[in-house]
């Protein structure tokens, strides 16, 4: 969600060798219904989500190894078409056919963001917001697009609106914290976990 400028240095610093994807429009988060990260999923050869884990833990690792020991199935599951796999043209067509479908407009917004049409993405976020006022992912996506345009204050307003709609969503909360208090995340001492604990207590009041 934070772009190449954040991801690349981390990948280099930790010597990551597995494929890394950048997900500015939060496609993965929306599809997997993420409320908090870090999170890991193990998807097996059939396509079934077998495990979900938080940060690294011995127990999760043991569960992963147990699944990896299973004999490999020849069965392959089929997925329904997913918005992030439809082409931009297909998503445009779908939004044109179903202009009152907030989810279709949001999926188009995300695809426009991926293809660098930020103005188009904003227009679709606005359209989705007019149709659906309860889905936190609409203002959240809107905020991510504004952030890409460098409109930090406007983005913050959107993230705050998203947090109102989904107060249990830690991704939204952390995105706000990182914007309002960058020194607690990107300073020379790294992430200030103590500050986060205090902040949670402050927000509970």
């Amino acid at each position: 969600m934070q772009g190449l400028e954040v991801v690349k240095p981390w990948v280099k610093k930790y010597g990551v060798t597995f494929p890394v994807a950048v997900d500015m429009a939060d496609v993965f988060g929306a599809a997997f219904g993420l409320k908090a990260i870090p999170v890991s999923f193990l998807v097996d050869e059939v396509g079934i989500v077998r495990l979900q884990g938080g940060g690294p833990s011995k127990e999760f690792r043991a569960q992963v190894e147990e699944v990896l020991r299973e004999p490999v199935s020849a069965v392959r599951g089929r997925t329904r078409e997913a918005p992030s796999v439809l082409s931009l043209g297909e998503l445009r067509a779908r939004a044109a056919r179903q202009p009152d479908d907030a989810a279709a407009r949001l999926a188009l917004a995300q695809a426009l963001e991926r293809s660098e049409d930020l103005a188009g993405a904003l227009a679709e976020c606005n359209a989705a917001a007019r149709l659906q006022t309860k889905d936190a992912m609409i203002p959240f996506t809107h905020g991510l697009v504004l952030l890409r345009q460098g409109r930090t204050n406007d983005a913050l307003a959107k993230f705050t609106a998203a947090r109102e709609l989904d107060s249990g969503n830690w991704r939204i909360r952390k995105q706000i914290w990182a914007l309002e208090h960058p020194e607690k995340f990107y300073g020379t001492n790294g992430i200030d976990w103590g500050w986060q604990k205090e902040q949670v207590a402050r927000e509970r009041k």
């Binding site: 969600m1 934070q2 190449l4 954040v6 991801v7 690349k8 981390w10 990948v11 494929p19 890394v20 994807a21 950048v22 997900d23 496609v27 993965f28 988060g29 599809a31 997997f32 219904g33 993420l34 990260i37 870090p38 999170v39 890991s40 999923f41 193990l42 998807v43 097996d44 050869e45 059939v46 396509g47 079934i48 989500v49 077998r50 495990l51 979900q52 569960q63 992963v64 699944v67 990896l68 199935s73 020849a74 069965v75 392959r76 599951g77 089929r78 997925t79 329904r80 997913a82 918005p83 992030s84 796999v85 991926r114 991704r171 952390k174 995105q175 990182a178 995340f185 990107y186 992430i191």
Partner: protein
């Protein structure tokens, strides 16, 4: 009620699915018909998978080509897993036709396309397909990785 489910029902024209109509040997336990998981997978395209359960036990899920559902009543017979025919039929909305001696069962496709619910992935469900862009600018979809076991880790700098 159980008997009704097991009778052959007239199928409306249904789209072809990967559930094949091969007859599977029935194994009776406690008077209930079961089929071996290996036979289900090999001959009917249905997999039974184990998920971590609460309290350290296991829960099972049955998956057809496009949907998964929790499956109760799975028995372990040594190394083999036995899936209850009635439970499977209900979980995956299949018709189950037993032959006269109740020695073989054939599963048929769902009458309605009940490929389920929301797009949100859940443990025990089929992962949604996604296309994401890698650092080098190329894209990858989850469907392309089917056939391999994939560990996905999602993180941010905060």
């Amino acid at each position: 009620m159980l008997a009704t489910r097991m009778l052959a029902l007239a199928l409306t024209a249904a789209p072809a699915t990967a559930i094949s109509g091969a007859p599977l040997p029935v194994i009776t336990r406690d008077g209930q018909a079961h089929v071996a998981a290996a036979a289900l997978e090999r001959d009917a395209g249905i997999v039974i998978k184990r998920l971590p359960g609460r309290g350290g036990g296991s829960e099972f899920v049955a998956c057809g080509p496009s949907q998964c559902a929790p499956l109760k009543g799975v028995l372990a017979d040594g190394e083999t897993l036995l899936a209850p025919v009635a439970g499977l039929s209900e979980a995956l909305n299949l018709t189950a036709n037993l032959d006269e001696g109740r020695r073989h069962v054939t599963f048929g496709p769902a009458q309605l396309d009940s490929s389920s619910t929301t797009g949100t992935a859940r443990v025990g469900g089929i992962a949604p397909n996604l296309r994401l862009t890698k650092l080098d600018g190329t894209t990858v979809t989850l469907d392309e990785l089917r056939g391999q076991r994939v560990l996905i880790n999602s993180w941010a700098s905060w």
